[in-house]
Symmetry: C2
Subunit: 133 residues, 2 copies
């Protein structure tokens, strides 16, 4: 892939936040540094970066796609009520391995078929549980 100033900027924007930004948010940030940049360029490069594995796409019902530049193995949980995304970092590789084994056993799938990292789990955040009353 040929170098471009734009892709470089977009990658650094996505890497330097933990808010799981949308394309629109990345575009707004990018314009601050490079006012002439177009939204199409942002989309094209986000797609390219997802394709090359440098960032991750998070797709969830009722929400625009979001992106994540954290490279370490982790998952997300989305609140089924308010849509908030929460990073879930595993406490140990051993537990990730146990999780993988248990998923295979429970659902009858083979180990080689499973990709645990980047799974979007479902849940309810504390704020939404509290406001249920």
């Amino acid at each position: 892939m040929k170098y471009s100033k734009q892709r470089d900027l977009i990658l650094s924007i996505v890497r330097n936040t933990t808010i799981h930004p949308s394309a629109e948010w990345v575009y707004e940030q990018a314009k601050k540094e490079m006012p002439s940049i177009g939204i199409a360029t942002v989309y094209r490069n986000l797609n390219a970066l997802v394709g090359s594995g440098e960032i991750e796409r998070i797709t969830a019902a009722g929400h625009v796609d979001r992106f994540d530049g954290q490279v370490s193995e982790h998952c997300h949980m989305q609140c089924v009520r308010c849509g908030k995304l929460i990073d879930l970092y595993p406490d140990s590789e051993e537990n990730m391995e146990r999780l993988r084994e248990l998923i295979c056993e429970t659902f009858g799938v083979e180990d080689k078929n499973v990709r645990i990292s980047r799974t979007l789990l479902r849940g309810v955040c504390n704020k939404c549980i509290d406001s249920e009353n």
Copy 2:
């Protein structure tokens, strides 16, 4: 909710297939029985049925929303290469419970926050693994 012939038809179509149909597919099927039905009606009723919990929506990156009329507790796995959706039925409630506990331990979340059912797991189907060579 007021009864309607259209919603009844749409629900039975979604319930009587295991292919996880898209709105468009449901619309095509519905037209066979009720040629005057409109696509907006299909979308409105699919949304209503998801809202009332009678069917489930499956949202995955790069694909239109799909729907699932199976009421039993289960998950899905989507092939990250070809997008195919596979039903995952748990072998036992005990393992589902163990899974829940392990997820809480591994990611440091509380039991009350986790919804395992309907999680969309990530994986690679056998066909795609084979064609990797």
